[in-house]
Amino acid sequence: MKTPIYGLMAEFESPTALVAAAHQVRARGYRKVEAYSPFAIEEVNEALGLHHNKLPLIVLCGGILGGLTGYLMQYYVAVIDFPLNIGGRPLHSWPSFIIITFELTILFAALSTVLGLFGLCGLPMPYHPVFNVSRFAFASRDRFFICIEANDPLFDRHDTAEFLHTLAPREVTEVAH
């Protein structure tokens, strides 16, 4: 018995070829599929059925938390912890709290955007099997790859490789674990 592999990877030379291949892979019923490209291609998301994205929700929560933190911090300091009586003016002077509330909303939202992005993408990731393919270095330059993972129910080492060859790739490679 051969050693198990991570998946099979096909290499393409243009974004158009990648999108066409992604459509066919998906139509064939494969679901554990990932495309790799040197820049974002919207049509690939469409082809691979990538619609779900939790990031905006994370950012919204971060922003609300930041706004609350900013306002409550100022309220606590100005009204409860360190009240200053300046000519009898109200302690809860909300118009002057707006700026810092706004700044902390932006700060928390921006931090949650970046941390949310890293979290959802699983970064930093020191090791990933796709880097075992030597030509994968070109995925950050000018080549486009599609990888069908071995844990896909329809995956068969031989049949899937043959199917990928029908998509007119430059090369089909096995991805070692």
């Binding site: 820049f39 049509e43 810092i100 932006i106 070109f138």
Partner: protein, 463 residues
């Protein structure tokens, strides 16, 4: 590997093209990454870098002297307590604004020409904010106690005054610096992955590999990445407008004649973008010539930036006019005197220099021949930077030196230490900038790839 590499000659792109024709994904990747990875570091990198390093030494000496002797070393004295420190702070922070405008606002407006200038413009923002931050910190007198500006439980039993614009400023500027750094780093990740995959040196691969965090260009990652870029741009847009607004509150909330004015926030923001684009041009024009990047930063980019400068310059001109008009129309003798004193008082030459630099001379940008001529454009950009520095000087020093009470009037003279600190931050700025262009891609590689015609997915073949 080099099968599809072609030699390209710099050509002005026509029509809707932004990048000169003849480029492929491979040529743009190799061309931009080779500046960092394979090309010999040129002499014209070392010479300015050495000069900038020398100026950093001047800065260190000036700061050390300031810490030993105190802020009295500068020319600040009653009534002009802000002097060059706050002038320089406002000038530097304004310069930073163009970077965020290019990276965030132009992204939201889908101005894709920005893709080849946003990276180094963002770097410029970071370094300009770093230089700006030096001045209020050093101006504190005891900079090591800067953390007293933040609310934290302390044995002194006191808390910051959240009704003060100076405290707002601390939060605005530190948020701005943090968000700019995040935006810049997130934008760098795919290019760091390119450098990691292109370098032949093990040490460089490890460093770029750690910084790229294992980015592999997966479609599911790109999808979230694009969302994150848009969200960060959407957050940075109101932020950048708020930062200079808050800086202007430092002035407008005070009752000094010449400061207490509602026109300041938009006027400061326009002026910030004006000087920021001038600094982008001052950096871009020599860079593209030195590294042969005329096919990526084309004359169309310079033309567009010159137009932004012209537009914001007109807003600034309008504000100058209205400042004078409102002073007259208010009928308030102190407001009228403040403007009259600017025009005819002891600092009149500064004011008229500023009018010439910011209002008169930049009008030559209306001519297309000037906007496409790099030498003239460079001269106009330097002129605008000078003019905007003078504007901040006039606002800070000239307004403070004569307020309500003639018995407390005075004249401000900068000392050699003022000059050394200012020139030192210029050195720090260029020192950081030259380190950046040597070690990181100064043009966003993955965003330039999307500008190529090959990046289009041909319709109809997907089915």
């Amino acid at each position: 590997m080099s099968d599809d590499r072609r030699t390209t000659t710099p050509v002005r792109p026509t029509g809707t093209q932004i990048i000169a024709p003849g480029h492929t994904f491979a040529t743009v990747s190799d061309k931009i990454s080779s500046i960092v990875l394979t090309r010999r570091t040129p002499l014209y990198w070392f010479i300015p870098f050495l000069i900038a390093s020398g100026l950093v030494m001047v800065f260190l000496v000036a700061v050390a002297a300031l810490l030993v002797r105190g802020v009295g070393l500068w020319g600040i004295k009653v009534p002009v307590m802000w002097g060059w420190a706050i002038t320089n702070f406002v000038w530097w922070i304004g310069i930073g604004h163009a970077g965020t405008l290019i990276s965030a606002i132009l992204l939201l407006l889908r101005q894709s020409w920005r893709n080849s200038i946003n990276r180094f413009a963002e770097a410029m923002t970071l370094f300009a904010v770093a230089c700006a931050g030096m001045f209020p910190l050093l101006h504190l007198g005891r900079p090591w106690l800067f953390y007293w500006l933040f609310p934290y439980p302390n044995t002194m039993g006191v808390q910051p005054q959240f009704r003060s614009p100076l405290v707002w400023d601390v939060f605005a500027v530190s948020t701005y610096a943090t968000v700019s750094a995040l935006f810049w780093y997130v934008g760098l990740i795919p290019d760091l992955a390119t450098l990691r995959d292109r370098t032949r040196y093990r040490a460089a691969r490890i460093v770029y590999g750690i910084l790229a965090m294992g980015w592999r260009g997966a479609a599911s990652h790109w999808q979230k990445y694009e969302t994150a870029s848009l969200l960060l741009a959407g957050l940075a847009t109101p932020l950048v407008l708020s930062v200079h607004t808050v800086v202007s509150f430092d002035f407008t909330v005070a009752i000094v004649p010449g400061w207490h004015s509602t026109i300041f926030p938009p006027y400061f923001v326009a002026g910030a973008i004006y000087s920021g684009f001038a600094m982008v041009l001052v950096l871009a024009i020599p860079l593209r010539a030195m590294y042969g990047l005329e096919d990526l930063i084309t004359s169309r980019h310079l033309d567009n930036m010159a137009k932004v400068m012209l537009a914001t310059g007109e807003i600034v001109a309008y504000s100058y006019f209205f400042e004078a008009f409102i002073a007259w129309y208010s009928g308030n003798q102190f407001e009228m005197f403040a403007i009259w004193n600017r025009m005819t008082g002891p600092y009149a030459p500064t004011y008229w220099c500023l009018i010439f630099c910011n209002l008169v001379f930049p009008q030559i940008l209306w001519l297309k021949q000037i906007r496409t001529n790099v030498v003239w454009l460079f001269i106009v950009a330097l002129d605008v930077l000078t003019g905007m520095w003078l504007e901040r000087y006039v606002i800070v020093v000239v307004s403070l030196h004569r307020d309500y009470l003639p018995s407390s009037w005075g004249i401000f003279h900068p000392t050699i230490w003022d000059v050394a600190t200012y020139v030192g931050t210029l050195g720090l700025f260029f020192f950081l900038f030259f380190l950046f262009i040597r070690s990181l891609p100064m043009i966003s590689i993955f965003e330039v790839r999307t500008l190529l015609p090959q990046a289009e997915v041909v319709e109809g073949v997907e089915k």
